[in-house]
C-alpha cells in the first residue's frame, strides 16, 4: 500500500476517471485534423521547404556560402548543433531520471518531451552532416572496415566520440519512447474504427494484450532503459563539451565544461518542453493533466539548472583571473567587453537573471510568464553557444588574424531549416500519437487526483467502445 501525504498537491484535476483519461487524450488522435492544426502544419511545412532549399544550395555550392572565414571556422553550424543537442536532453531526463526518482508529475509530460528529444537530436545531427560539406561521405565518421587503405577514424578525436555518443543516445531514446507508447497504441488499436488505423496501430502495438505479465515486463524494461539512459544523457553533452574542452583554445579549455554543459542542456531542454507543452495544453484542452503544479515543478528545475549554469559562468570568470594566465583572462574580459559584448550580455541576462524571476511563486505559476521566460531561456542558450564558439575563435593568437563573423542568408536559412523540420515532426506527432502517456497518468489517478470520482474506472463514452467495428474478431 502506498500512501500519499496530504501536503502534496494534486497532479490530476477535474475528477477524472480512467475512461475520461482515455477519452480526453485519444480524442485528438482519432478525430479529424482541426483547422488550427492544418494551418500550423502547413506553415511549418513551408518553412521546412524554404530551409531545405537553403540546405540543398549549401551542399550544391559548398560551405563557402556560409559566413565562415579562416579565423572563425565554426560559427552558427556548431552553435545550432550544440543548441539542438542540448534541447534534446530534457526528454530523457524527464522520462529516465525522474522515473528513477519516482516523480509522479513526469507522467503527463514525458511523452511529448521524449518526442521532442528525438526530433531535436535529428535537427542537431543535420548540422553535423551539413558542416561536413560532403554529406555523401558522412559514413566516414564511422569506423567501418574500408578499402581506402589505412583510412580509419581518429579515435583520439572527441568528434568521433560524439558520433558514438549521439547515435547511441538517439537509439536508446527512440526505444524508450516507443516502449512507452506500446500500451497507448494498443488502446487506440482497440478503439479504432477503420481497418487502416486498426492495422497500423495494431502493428505498432506489438500484440500488447494488457495482461499482468505484459505490464510487469513493461515496468521492468522501463526501469532498465531508465538506468541505461541516465548515464547516456550525461555522456552526450559531456562529450559535446569535450569537442571544445580538449583543445587548448582559451575559453574552450576548462575542466568544468562537462557538468556545466549537461546542466545547461537540461536547462534549455526544460525551457523547450515548457514552450511546447504550454501550447499543446491550451490547444488540446489538457489543463487537467498538465496543471500549474507541473508547470511550477518544471520552472523550479529551470531555476535550479539556470543557477548551476550561473555558478559555472562565475567560476570560469573567477578562475580565468585566478589562474594568472593572460590568454584566459583576456578571453573572458573580451567576451564581456569586446566586440561581442552584446552576445555575452544577452546570454547572461537570459540564462542567469531571467530564471531568477521564478523565485516569485506567482511568476512561476503564471502561464504567460512561464511561456515568455521559456522563450527567453532558449534564446539565451543559443547565445551561450555562440559566445563560447565565436568569441573564443575570433581573437586568434596573432592580432593580424583577428576577425569577425557575420552570418549570410544561408547560415540563417539552414537554421530555419531545422525549425521547419522540428515543427513538422512535432505536429505530425501531436496529431497521430497520444501526446500524453494515458497508461501512466491512469497509474497516478488514484494517488494524485484533486478529487476522486465515485467510480474511478468510469464509463467509456461514445460508440467506439459500445459498438466497436473491428475489434470483435480479435477475440
Amino acid at each position: 500500500m502506498h500512501i500519499t501525504s496530504p501536503v502534496r498537491t494534486p497532479l490530476v484535476t477535474g475528477g477524472k476517471t480512467y475512461a475520461d483519461v482515455t477519452e480526453d487524450i485519444c480524442r485528438h488522435v482519432e478525430g479529424k485534423p482541426t483547422k488550427e492544426w492544418k494551418v500550423a502544419f502547413t506553415i511549418s511545412l513551408l518553412v521546412l521547404l524554404y530551409g531545405a532549399a537553403c540546405v540543398a544550395w549549401t551542399w550544391w555550392e559548398g560551405l563557402g556560402v556560409w559566413g565562415l572565414n579562416k579565423t572563425v571556422g565554426w560559427a552558427w553550424d556548431i552553435t545550432n548543433f550544440v543548441w539542438w543537442v542540448g534541447i534534446g536532453h530534457a526528454g530523457t531526463l524527464i522520462s529516465a531520471v525522474l522515473l528513477l526518482f519516482r516523480q509522479k508529475w513526469r507522467t503527463s509530460i514525458n511523452r511529448a518531451a521524449e518526442a521532442m528529444t528525438i526530433f531535436a537530436v535529428l535537427c542537431a545531427a543535420s548540422f553535423i552532416v551539413m558542416h561536413m560539406g560532403r554529406p555523401w561521405l558522412a559514413y566516414w565518421a564511422l569506423p567501418l572496415p574500408n578499402t581506402f587503405g589505412s583510412l580509419w577514424v581518429n579515435f583520439n578525436s572527441p568528434l568521433v566520440w560524439d558520433v558514438f555518443a549521439i547515435s547511441t543516445y538517439f537509439s536508446v531514446s527512440c526505444l524508450f519512447w516507443f516502449v512507452g507508447l506500446v500500451p497507448d497504441l494498443a488502446t487506440i488499436r482497440d478503439r479504432a474504427k477503420n481497418k487502416v488505423s486498426k492495422y497500423i496501430y495494431g502493428a505498432l502495438s506489438l500484440g500488447w494484450n494488457g495482461s499482468a505479465k505484459a505490464w510487469a515486463r513493461y515496468e521492468y524494461i522501463s526501469l532498465i532503459l531508465a538506468g541505461l539512459s541516465t548515464p547516456l544523457v550525461l555522456s552526450v553533452h559531456t562529450i559535446v563539451s569535450m569537442d571544445f574542452a580538449t583543445s587548448v583554445i582559451p575559453g574552450w579549455h576548462t575542466t568544468i565544461f562537462p557538468p556545466y554543459f549537461v546542466a545547461g542542456a537540461i536547462f534549455s531542454g526544460f525551457a523547450m518542453v515548457q514552450t511546447l507543452m504550454l501550447v499543446t495544453r491550451v490547444v488540446y484542452k489538457l489543463e487537467d493533466y498538465i496543471t500549474l503544479e507541473h508547470i511550477e515543478s518544471m520552472n523550479k528545475i529551470i531555476t535550479l539548472t539556470g543557477s548551476i549554469v550561473g555558478v559555472a559562468y562565475l567560476t570560469e570568470f573567477f578562475i580565468a583571473w585566478y589562474s594568472g594566465v593572460e590568454y584566459e583572462t583576456y578571453a573572458f574580459v573580451n567576451r564581456a567587453t569586446g566586440p561581442y559584448w552584446w552576445a555575452y550580455w544577452a546570454m547572461m541576462t537570459c540564462n542567469v537573471i531571467s530564471p531568477q524571476l521564478f523565485w516569485s511563486r506567482s511568476i512561476r505559476r503564471s502561464v504567460k510568464w512561464t511561456f515568455f521566460i521559456s522563450i527567453i531561456v532558449n534564446i539565451g542558450m543559443w547565445f551561450e553557444r555562440f559566445v563560447i564558439i565565436v568569441t573564443s575563435l575570433h581573437r586568434d593568437y596573432i592580432p593580424s588574424s583577428w576577425a569577425m563573423f557575420s552570418p549570410t542568408m544561408f547560415d540563417i536559412g539552414d537554421y530555419i531549416f531545422s525549425f521547419g523540420f522540428f515543427f513538422t515532426c512535432f505536429f505530425l506527432f501531436s496529431k497521430y500519437l497520444p501526446v500524453i502517456n494515458m497508461a501512466e497518468v491512469k497509474a497516478i489517478v488514484k494517488s494524485s487526483s484533486e478529487k476522486l470520482p465515485k467510480k474511478v474506472s468510469g464509463v467509456a463514452k461514445g460508440e467506439r467502445v459500445s459498438a466497436p467495428t473491428f475489434n470483435k474478431d480479435a477475440q
Binding site: M1, H2, I3, T4, S5, P6, V7, R8, L100, F101, R102, P231, L234, T238, M242, A245, T246, S247, V248, H253, T254, T255, I256, F257, P258, P259, K300, S307, I308, V311, A312, T315, E316, I319, Y322, S323, G324, V325
Partner: protein, 439 residues
C-alpha cells in the same frame, strides 16, 4: 516480495548513548592520541616517514615549484597537514548532512523522513572542525600555504612570486579568515535554525515548521551553491597555489557528498542492527544504496572529466598537478592515486550493482566503508603533496588522527541523536516514509 511487511511500526524510539559506547569511544580517542604522540616522537627524531623517498627526490624535478621547494621543512608540518586533511574531510561529511536534508525538503521527498534524524545529527560537529581549521591556519598556515609566505607579493623580496601576487586580491590572510568564518557561521547557523524547527515540529506538529524548513533549506542551498565551491578553492586548491581547475569546486563537493551519504547509510545500518530504526525497511536501504551508487558514479565522472581534460590538453601549468601525484616526490603518491580510484569507484560500483546487494546490510557496509576510506585518500592525496611533499606517508600520526576524528565525530552524532525522538514523529511526510515500498 519480502518488502511487504507493513505491520504497524512504532515511531517512538529514544536513542541511548550507553556508557559502554562512551567508554569505547574514549578508549579509541585515547589510542589515537597515543598514536599521534608516538608518531610525533618518531618524526621529530627523523623516522616514521617514507624517508626512502629522499633518495628519489632527484626524480621529482617537476615539483621544483612545489611549496616544499621554497622553504625549510619542519617535521610538525606533517601533524598540521593531517589535522587539516581530517578537518576538511569531516567538515564535508558534517555539512553534507545539512545538504541532504535541504535538498530533500526542496524536492518534497517523502521516503527519507524516517531516518532524517541521522543527517540532521551530523552538522553538529562543524564548530569542532571549524575551530581546528582556524587554529591550524593560525599556527601552521605559513608552512602549509605557500601564498602566506612573507614577501611573496613584494617585487623586491627574494620570495616574490608574480603569479601568486596576481591572486593576492583573493588569497590574502584577512580575507581568507573572513571567508572561513563566514562558511562555518552560515552552515552551522542555518543548521541550528532547521534543527530547532525539526525539534519543535516533534512537539507541536502541524505543517508550519515543514513550510518554514523548505524556505530555510532553500536558503542553505543557495548559500552552499556558492560556498561549496569557494570553500574547496580555499581549503584545498589554494595549497597548490599556482594550480587551478574550474572543476575543482564541484569535484570536492562530489567527494564530500558521496562520503556523507556513505556515513549516513552506515549509521542507519548500524542503528538498525542495534535494534533502533525498526521502521527503516529494505526499500529505504535500497534507496540509500542507490544514492551511494549514483554519487559514486558522479564523483568518478567529475574526477575523470577533470583528469582527462588536463591530460589531453597537456598544458604544463595544469598537468603539473597530476605529474606531482603520479611521478613526483619519488612516486610516493602513485599508490594512493590508484587506491583512490579503486576504493571510490571500482569497489562501490561493482559491489552495489545488483538490486539485492543494496538491500543487504553486510554488502552495504562493505561499500560504505570503501567509500569512506577512499575519500579520505582523495583528500589526503590533494593536501599532502603541496604541504609535506616527499615527507608524506602513512604512519602512527595518520592513523592516530583518523581515530581521534572518527571517535569524536561518532560521539557528536550520538549525543545529537539522544536529544530527540529517533523518528521525526510529526513530519507531514512520515506516513509516506513508513509505507515506503519500492518492491
Amino acid at each position: 516480495m519480502s518488502a511487504h511487511h507493513h505491520e504497524a511500526v512504532s515511531v517512538e524510539e529514544q536513542f541511548e548513548f550507553t556508557s559502554e559506547s562512551k567508554r569505547q569511544l574514549a578508549i579509541g580517542f585515547g589510542i589515537g592520541v597515543v598514536l599521534v604522540l608516538i608518531g610525533a616522537y618518531l618524526l621529530a627524531n627523523g623516522g616514521g616517514g617514507h624517508e626512502a623517498a629522499h633518495g628519489a627526490a632527484a626524480h621529482g624535478a617537476e615539483h621544483a615549484h612545489g611549496a616544499a621547494g621554497h622553504h625549510e621543512y619542519k617535521w610538525t608540518t606533517r601533524l598540521w597537514a593531517n589535522l587539516w586533511t581530517n578537518s576538511i574531510y569531516f567538515t564535508g561529511i558534517s555539512v553534507i548532512g545539512m545538504f541532504f536534508i535541504c535538498y530533500n525538503y526542496l524536492a518534497q521527498a517523502g521516503w527519507s523522513v524516517v531516518f532524517k534524524r541521522i543527517p540532521e545529527a551530523m552538522p553538529a560537529f562543524l564548530p569542532v572542525t571549524g575551530l581546528l581549521m582556524l587554529l591550524t591556519f593560525f599556527v601552521a598556515g605559513h608552512d602549509m600555504f605557500h601564498w602566506t609566505q612573507e614577501g611573496i607579493t613584494d617585487p623586491k623580496s627574494a620570495n616574490y612570486d608574480a603569479i601568486i601576487a596576481g591572486k593576492s586580491a583573493f588569497l590574502n590572510t584577512p580575507f581568507y579568515i573572513i571567508r572561513l568564518v563566514i562558511y562555518f557561521t552560515l552552515w552551522y547557523g542555518l543548521w541550528r535554525v532547521l534543527r530547532s524547527f525539526s525539534l519543535k515540529e516533534d512537539l507541536e506538529g502541524g505543517t508550519e515548521y515543514y513550510e518554514k524548513s523548505i524556505k530555510f533549506g532553500v536558503a542553505f542551498l543557495v548559500v552552499f551553491a556558492i560556498t561549496s565551491s569557494t570553500a574547496a578553492w580555499d581549503f584545498v586548491m589554494s595549497i597548490d597555489t599556482h594550480w587551478f581547475s574550474t572543476m575543482f569546486g564541484w569535484y570536492t563537493l562530489a567527494s564530500w557528498h558521496v562520503a556523507g551519504l556513505a556515513v549516513m547509510t552506515l549509521t542507519v545500518v548500524t542503528l538498525k542492527e542495534r535494534g533502533y530504526l525498526q521502521a527503516v525497511n529494505e526499500s529505504h536501504l535500497h534507496d540509500l544504496g542507490k544514492f551511494c551508487f549514483a554519487f559514486t558514479v558522479f564523483w568518478t565522472y567529475v574526477w575523470f572529466a577533470q583528469f582527462l581534460l588536463i591530460y589531453y590538453a597537456n598544458l604544463p601549468e595544469e598537468a603539473i598537478y597530476y605529474r606531482e601525484r603520479f611521478s613526483g616526490y619519488g612516486g610516493i603518491f602513485k599508490g594512493p592515486f590508484f587506491i583512490n580510484i579503486i576504493l571510490n569507484f571500482f569497489v562501490p560500483f561493482l559491489v552495489l550493482m545488483t538490486r539485492d546487494a543494496k538491500r543487504t546490510t553486510r554488502v552495504l557496509k562493505v561499500a560504505c566503508w570503501s567509500i569512506i576510506v577512499g575519500h579520505y585518500f582523495d583528500f589526503w592525496n590533494n593536501v599532502m603533496p603541496g604541504t609535506v611533499g616527499e615527507h608524506a606517508g602513512f604512519g602512527p600520526v595518520e592513523f592516530g588522527f583518523i581515530l581521534m576524528f572518527a571517535t569524536a565525530f561518532i560521539w557528536s552524532v550520538s549525543t545529537q541523536l539522544t536529544k530527540a525522538n529517533l523518528i521525526p514523529r510529526n513530519h507531514p511526510m512520515l506516513e509516506e516514509s513508513l509505507h515506503h515500498d519500492i518492491a
